[in-house]
Symmetry: D2
Subunit: 371 residues, 4 copies
């Protein structure tokens, strides 16, 4: 996937409606309209499960896309499925592709959306949730930045990471090797892995000094966080898949990205400020955000009940509510709002990336004429 | 409760935090600070239950306030408890009082927030959900307008109605009297009663001509609706308790009200426009809104999953999401967002009343000096 | 699938544990151990979703089995996936196969478990939930009985039917053809289709006279029911897949079946009586049952809360509870307990089929030596 | 409450249906029929909430009974409210009274149901969940045994304990006193307090040697448990309310008690054995049981999904299922099945107490003639 000539690359992004976890027809339609499957770098999905332990819509969607790419004879791209479309959030796929630009416009020199990808080496299970994972991810983020042709950390606006988790079998494998794991609780291992991965982003981007990271801060020192990280744990890998989104002069095309860091679930000021930094006439392409119940039990000084609700998981409440906050700002509901935000933005808040098309409408019907 | 001299009245409104359904201590604190219990006209509560059939937090809160007023030797005011604080919505009470103004400022002649109340006669059970209920409520709304000193329908901004429902015993009573009820399904009777009551508001305010109302349109013709109605059904009454909020020159004080009608769950344009009609320097006192899952299955042209979710009731999704939309606009989470919006605003949308203090902060500590 | 020589057939049944909706490895192990895929007639699955509208575990399991049979180059058998393993119910597959018996024991003439299958013609959408569907299914059941070599209705012990439902598209198709459907509510169409199919079983088995069936009784006259029917609606077909389980002298092998009809959720007397009719030394092979919340709101004269619970669907409560009742009787938790029991047994009760191995343990490890 | 002459005491027990958490009318009817309120020792309630953190039905029921006893001018008895009537479990109150027997039958010398009560001293907050709590409860159990006139531990069949929990305020109070609490997690403190209380029962009854108890075993060594303990944590007390139920020759009357210890959720053998130890002609008066999801993830060697379900709490699944198992055995649904069974019976199992009337039906209508 490494580009031969960076200056000939262009990022393309589509939001595609899904009528269910197995509905890949919208992406097939993109292919039918000319998109080459091998240019797809990643697909981020919002599926309509509970986003918690027994959410099988993620696996179902992943299996459906794997079957699609297998039929096409192309290796599947990075697939990140986030369960939970609470409130009026709309199930959809966001497709990220990068293409060589045939007739690069020499005169255009403004930065454009850049997409980089990398995978880390296998993570030994006893390193999960520990300093070693943070450092491994930090290296991976730097590799993805290099792949994207982004040098300056301030040009990175969103880092999506799919990280591993512990299962009973993996704990036993570590036991057999005489290596003590950070936790034997498999659910807790997801939070630790997400948190350590987010701290890895922070270290790579210079938000936190690597010297500050000890095992003890992971999952505990919530004041340490990345402003760009979005991480999710999956059982299907033992390494890390990393996608970096940022701005680079080595890329072409109408797409641009910026991001906000919400200080709380109702902080629209930061979001509007990020929006204002993008061209006023730009058309919204995608919004990617993290949400979580404020661990203080309060939002804006008033009590919330998300963490005391034994009927609905707090993460579901948070997605529904922050989904509403952002849908009110952006006027659309197919937003990628994902839960589980350890070390990803401040406690109760989170990063929000905004991708826009500065020039024209990308329309599937006219897609083949564009490139 | 009818005021002798309208020009000597002033409305007062407080939002009071609740630590649980039985926590009336914040209202007791208002009394301790000088508020006279007998001036309280209504208390609207958001309690942290599911807002559906087996929500006992409403009854628990009502019983707690009844016990409080009984201890004080004062008849309990109209108590409207709305269950459901999904997302980051915050459990709270909104207390409405009306007081005689000792030293009325002769020079002040601008309209101010006016509160009127009325009760209808007993509703025969076979009239529930039928044209007769609509007409009975319409009369009651006019009585409450008169009580508030409001003549023009356009000066009414919110009408909160507590209406009856059918129980098995009531159905049997109607049977015994040879009178056929509109439905034998007690849950469905709640929706019919809410809908008929909302249409009663529409008729009273001239939004719909009484001639248009037949039994068949109730619960069916969703294009017929009131822009100001907020209704909820309760088992504890067989008549209707009606509270009208509007603007009147016969009232004094800093409070003012306006309202929006959201066209959909993400329609913030209408809400911001209503906000803009109120003085820019005014301080927010209370927001009262209705929310429901869009029956079309779409919001803004994109599918939502609220109505297909067998784990979480659609009304809960709607409150969480619209709560987020409004909290993003108003920057606070103790909003009265209530579900079950039949004929209350357009399908998938709903009315939003905004009450502001135009002049000064109403502070409990300084309350006795104000009046 | 029609057998050439009935006297050479033998039914085989396995319960196979599933670690998740996509885990078909246990069935693959059966194939590896010698079971020929083309002999599999049906797979009934209990998957760990909510068993309601947004249960994607059923579709995920079906897709996983379809992929498995496609890999094997064999047409997939009838796949009936029932969501919901509430309480301690255990996710599992029940595999039904029928094989030719190479060395038929001439002397053995006792009846044995017989399995018959049939499909009906396509059901016109405006016939769904109406008398026409009942009669169509009745014909199909008779065809499946013939396929099983069962003549007498009293030899039939369980009839599993997968029936169609209405979708918005199908309603529109009927509209376009000028044919009025029984309901435009797609969820309601599932109950109507299940109910009409169950009544079709009752007509085929002579439990109800066809003359008694009118459109009006379907879903309404709950006193009309089959004692053997188990029906479930699926979006993936527009005809009916019918599996008949019974006893026939034309079949060989150790398996036998009998059934009870629970009069209520706590009626263990009928279940123990059915168990007693089977040989005392027999080993339990499978239990298939239907469960539903008693529509009277009472079980054994005492109130239940299943139908008033807005947090957990009544069908989920019913499966958990009846699962417990039956697990207490049978001492195992991988029971096929399915919800949605319209016209399938009396209101609040339901049929329970018991399949036993009268002679020996069927063991995967020794399977190839057995046949 | 201590009886002057033990040989003049008789226990009385009623199960009373509740139409909701505030419905105390059935108990009022007992009083109207002659039961003297001051003889009531305890009321155990099953209320229809979720039995988890945000279950307000427990507080609502407690407040309703406190108001009832206040109206009667009698101190409220021990009120233990257990939330959760999943499956077909029926909301009800079990009323325990002890009365002096006016005309004691000298000749009757068989043991009868005995009820003893005690309260421990205040538990310092830093002792909660630690060895000190175990020893304090052990002393309290011995006091309740003495109050019941029971000497031998084998005559004790059920010990119901209401124990305290930590709140944020209590943690801060301990902090201020320089005393470190066992946990700062208030939810976790409930489990620790229940577990330590259950171990206190075990120590008092000689099931475990006090020397075995260290802080480290509490909540960890699940192989250490009492066969008779049923404990629940409540925010409203800082000591322990203890009720001992057993058999004593110092008591009179037709009631008797025995108990089983279920080894797993489907262990009906132990329950039937306990039932068989009671007179065959006896009429069932009450069943009291504990249930929990098997922490091994298996029941009878097969996987259950209770602990992986993010939609329904595992304790709710367990109550529904074990409720079904026991309702199948006893043929009634108003069983006291309570969750949260740390150190109360073996992991995944739990104690089941059975109270029967050996002679006659206790009937409210004829109650005043009986005593």
């Amino acid at each position: 996937m490494a580009p031969a000539h960076r200056d000939l690359l262009q990022a393309r992004v589509w939001r595609v409606a899904a009528s269910g976890p197995a509905d890949v027809s919208g992406v097939e339609a993109l292919f039918a309209a000319g998109l080459r499957p091998e240019t797809v770098v990643a697909i981020l999905g919002k599926t309509e499960g509970n986003g918690c332990v027994n959410d099988f819509t993620r696996g179902y969607a992943t299996a459906s896309f794997e079957a699609l790419f297998a039929r096409l004879g192309v290796a599947a791209p990075c697939l990140v499925m986030s369960g939970g479309t609470e409130g009026a959030l709309s199930p959809h796929w966001t497709v990220f592709a990068r293409e060589s630009v045939a007739d690069a416009t020499e005169t255009m020199d403004a930065p454009a959306l850049a997409i980089g990808a990398s995978r880390t080496p296998h993570l030994p299970y006893h390193h999960l949730g520990r300093r070693e994972q943070v450092l491994l991810v930090a290296q991976g983020v730097k590799a993805a930045m290099a792949d994207a042709g982004i040098d300056a950390p301030e040009d990175v606006h969103f880092v999506q990471i799919k990280c591993p988790l512990l299962t009973l079998a993996r704990v036993h494998e570590a036991d057999a090797a005489g290596a003590a794991v950070a936790t034997r609780d498999t659910l807790k291992s997801m939070g630790l892995s997400r948190g350590a991965s987010a701290l890895g982003v922070a270290v790579a981007l210079g938000e936190i000094d690597a010297g500050e990271i000890t095992d003890a801060v992971i999952g505990a020192r919530l004041d340490l966080f990345s402003r760009c990280a979005s991480t999710s744990a999956g059982v299907e890998l033992t390494d890390h898949e990393i996608i970096v989104l940022g701005m680079s002069r080595a890329w072409r095309g109408p797409l641009a990205i910026d991001h906000a860091v919400m200080a709380s679930a109702i902080d629209t000021v930061s979001v509007r400020a990020a929006q204002a930094r993008l061209p006023e006439t730009a058309r919204l392409t995608a919004v990617l955000a993290k949400a979580e119940p404020d661990p203080s039990g309060m939002v804006g000084g008033r009590r919330h009940t998300m963490l005391d609700d034994s009927d609905i998981a707090g993460t579901r409440h948070a997605r529904a509510f922050v989904g509403g906050v952002l849908a009110g700002v952006f006027g659309m509901t197919d937003l990628y709002v994902s839960g589980g935000a350890e070390h990803q933005g401040p406690p109760g808040g989170g990063p929000v990336a905004i991708i826009v098309d500065r020039i024209a409408t990308v329309d599937i019907a006219t897609m083949d004429k564009e490139s």
